[in-house]
Point group: D3
Chain length 259, copies 6
């Protein structure tokens, strides 16, 4: 039990002890969203959960249950609602979940929280959820509470991107279900990836605006915004290493003034 970091896998007295010892609590935010013909739809759950687990082990932290339903997937950043299997929840509901969980963690004396996001469209509603929690707790009461909000893809170093994309990085905008996510999934859950099924109908050519109702042919039929060619477990490891190392550094610096 000593080496467990998933909060929900502990009995409560152990949770209490670790929280009293100052354990940071990681809250991974994911989604259930199409990620091409070649991957499962839990990519945005698997990646931040795995990163949180690794970092939590390094810093004496705990990982709260991952929120598996994300804010509305958009065509330009994930394929959008046209793909069966993607389950969207509204921004307001998503923000309320984040708010409620943070408020209850605070009530239990957790004072160090890392919101670790794995789904692009969660950025805004996770900020809103944190703000709503601070409003509800009272900003002048919450002076001993520190929250970090991290989108894992911001943690990758430029030199790693250069190694992953020897022919040039196509940019984060088109990186949905493409080399970065595919490689990370190959490193973490290879049984959920079948590269042979990948269609190469991208890269997507989006209009630089949104149209409702959505044009029928906006997203490539595969759901892959860019390419999967060149994905490998090894590259996934490089990317995950960056995320884990960087987040561990941030957590130590922000919470423990260490390095």
């Amino acid at each position: 039990m000593r080496d467990r970091v998933f909060l929900a896998e502990l009995p409560w007295p152990e949770a209490e002890k670790r929280i009293a010892a100052g354990a940071p609590v990681f809250l991974p935010l994911g989604s259930t969203e199409q990620h091409g013909h070649h991957m499962a739809m839990n990519v945005d759950v698997v990646i931040p959960t795995a990163i949180a687990e690794t970092v939590a082990r390094q810093v004496g932290g705990l990982v709260a249950p991952t929120i598996a339903y994300g804010n509305r997937s958009q065509p330009r950043t994930g394929g959008g609602p046209a793909f069966p299997g993607t389950i969207n929840i509204t921004a307001h509901t998503f923000s309320l979940i984040v708010k409620d969980v943070i408020c209850d963690l605070y009530r239990q004396k957790v004072r160090r929280i890392v919101v670790l996001n794995g789904h692009y469209e969660n950025i805004g509603p996770s900020i809103e959820g944190i703000e709503l929690a601070l409003d509800a707790i009272g900003r002048e009461r919450a002076t001993d509470l520190t929250i970090l909000r991290i989108d894992h893809w911001e943690m990758v170093r430029a030199q790693t991107l250069a190694r992953v994309f020897p022919d040039g990085y196509p940019g984060i905008e088109l990186e949905h279900a493409s080399v970065i996510e595919t490689s990370m999934m190959l490193a973490l859950r290879p049984e959920l990836v079948d590269l042979g099924k990948a269609l190469h109908d991208g890269p997507a050519q989006f209009n630089p605006y949104d149209r409702y109702p959505r044009p029928a042919d906006e997203v490539p039929p595969s759901g892959v915004l860019s390419l999967t060619e060149g994905s490998s477990a090894e590259k996934g490891r490089w990317l995950l290493d960056d995320c884990e190392t960087r987040i561990a550094e941030i957590v130590k610096r922000e919470f423990f003034r260490g390095a």
Copy 2:
């Protein structure tokens, strides 16, 4: 991939195919809640998820991601907010999640949904969430949509309870973190149970009313409302068998007019 039933572990074209074939979708509702000194806090997640998985395999169904945060735990039915580690969300937020997920499943042409609940305090808000979804979809439009809402503990047969409790069944009210849940966890995730840690300070003697603020000594210090003595993986299997068999029967009868 053929034998996968977790929706989020499928690529979207496989999800689409199964939904088109009429697959019922199971939505397990759990919680992160104290379950005594001897068990992890994910009991209400593990049990309905496992039951859903087994039944989904039998009936060609899919299992959507389990909602891991439950509506406010109450002292008389789960220990309440006094126990660290329990993470409560409000009834309104919980109902909105259920509503949003059902609405989006409907939009994707899912027409057979089983809401399978594992946490007592979710009963009301899960009913509300379903009703809100029906309001939003439009009851006159939703005539081809059938939703079943099942609390798994209602599926256990009287004769099984008699076998599990040869000295008499103490009643569902006190069955929190006690023989039934402990036995099911021993059958499903024995590594998350440590019977040696169980405290025998129950059974709880609750006042038949709620008091706010909560009296300090309302719940037994252990968080176990009744007893864990006599728990076993074998009994857990009996109980799970009942749930699985019964739910499979109900699903077949209600959705496929079979038996």
Copy 3:
């Protein structure tokens, strides 16, 4: 005016005086819900209001206006929405009413509140309403506020049930519009009961799960879940006596440390 206990029947200076003297305020929660062919639909209003009135007289309390619209009636516990005349409100609205009333009572310096519930489906939303009020007031500010939440049927003693049901108590689940409620109404408002109109098409045989849309024949056509035979005003008095005595005891003990 001295002997009036209904808050709304007092002029404000009298209300102010009593609140300043520490009067507990009772907030009865009811519903407008079918209760069979033989009874009016205000059963869940009449009973808790009458109990609150009696107890308030004994303990120097006040009775706030009863909330006459209850949370969504469910088939298994009241017949559900299929019966004309039943007026359902949503859980969220119901909780907000309870919240708003408690917040405003607190603002007026009421510090002892008894939420007395007469409708099964109000249990969850009344808990939520109280919690929302405590969140809004601020739990650390509200230390001088005590709220009791009582479902009146929990107040009946086992020996009284044995007297009322000499052939055995069928259980609270089926007690909707049946002997207990009918007897209490015969004691309180006999003109609203016509036993000759009672249909004996029960007891209801419910499935142990909810199905949406509701099966047409789920509830007995009468709306009576169990039986009305054997109902009498005398039995109603026994039951009411239990409620009144027990609640008065609880109120004295919790609020005045008396007995």
Copy 4:
């Protein structure tokens, strides 16, 4: 039972029959609000309920339970929150109640609704509640639904005001807890009025704007905005006669094309 018009005093089959016969349903909106030293706080409940009862008898209608908690009382139109006993609920909650009740009446096939308001501050939120209900039902579906919204004080004829105030009508603005309401209460519930207790510290001299926080001395200490002198049960009858006659005419014309 034949002559009962309060919906909640009927068994459901009788309610169903009357609704099927086209009975208009009256929904009285009240408040629990200070009305001076000389009157109970249920004035805004008693008056519209009594008028609804009388008119319902004349037109074959039904009276739904009165909403007894009104939207926030304001100093310039009722004394405001400074008076103990006044229980305010928020505009949003009030609108949701009205919305929910109308939606559920509609679901039960009620197609003629009279929202009869007795509290000034309910005007806006009752309009909003009706609009929200029409939005929820769907305006294009609701073509067979007619709702009338009436503030009872608009029903009094000029000649009646002239008789009630032989020295000139001070205007509706200051008529809170004054001659009109006092006279109507004397006619309806004389035991809830004690003219000897009336303080003559008015009429109020309000600033023509609102200030928050409220100035301490804004409302006369009595809570009476104008005068009670000259109130009588006879005058109350004249006023009630106007309301009853006029509303019956309107209902017949609008719903039955009669006169």
Copy 5:
């Protein structure tokens, strides 16, 4: 820049300086609503914004951006939703905007706020918005915050009305898009008024109650509730002078104890 009073036209350091110096902030509330054949639909924006600008100059204040979308226009007080061009927002949304803006002004240390309303149907929701803001800030924390809420038409003196209407004042009820508003617009934005286009089909004869759906012929086809004859820029100036003088006096007295 020194003479600018519109908050949004200042760079932030200048805003900070003025707020630190105690500048009252005016928040004008308007609407986009039909005002007859002869006037633009921004009347309720133009008038309170212009008054706020003038007064702000006199008292060292700032004018925050005017809210240009008002709460649902009603037939009896503005023509209602039947007129194309009128854009209605719900009471709840309107209140939330007012709440959010006030909360954020408070966070920025603004302690003197004047909510200046130009649209009849905003009265209730602006009160609610202020109350919600005070609830959110915490009434016991907000003791240094003073908010004035002013409907500009309440500022006109009786003698000015007598001059404007030498043949008698028809009353504020019918003053929508009529002499008062038309004259003020002639004084402020004459290019948005074309008196030759005014139809004289009024005055409106409203029923003293609301009917849903709205009767087709309730409002005069022109949208003018009363008359425009006799409107002039000169009268508009008289009316604006009253508003500006009176509000400046109130602001000085309430905020600066001057006169």
Copy 6:
């Protein structure tokens, strides 16, 4: 009046005529947000309003009132709440405004809407508002409604950026209150810019994550994220020309199948 395009500056019959003729309605979304020492805080209002006006003239459109309060400004994209003068509203409120306005435009038979956004943090809540409107209208009813959502900075061509930044484009992330916005303001409202007041303390070096509470020194004291050097009205004209030309093309193609 013929050449007016601001909806609120028209009388309603003119608005009705243009809507009947198929006029697209532009809804500009802005904010009141710090934009450095050298510029007014209405930059995000001025720019999209001006672009909308120009394009509306070209395509026979109308411009609805600009929403002047934007969703919470964030440090990394606008300086955040630390700067006095910035007025933030919550994501939920912002989405509700957008929803309400679109719903009401739809009710008035507007079928072509362009949501033109000028504030980065409005992206998510404007998408949500549009989605909520489509949910409320009913997606199957709204088939004749087309909505375009455009962030104006996406309209600038690469070659224009190359001309504006001869030494290389620093990227949109740091473009808050910098050369692009400053140049556009110089072209549109030069009196609201004072380049001499610009501080050159940037470019900002942000952490790639969010921290709550915000670190004191996160944003450069000036509030300028990048540089203002090299800003000119001429460059602003180039940028605006791109936006206007491109949006006019999009509108013609999407709404009128022209080019």
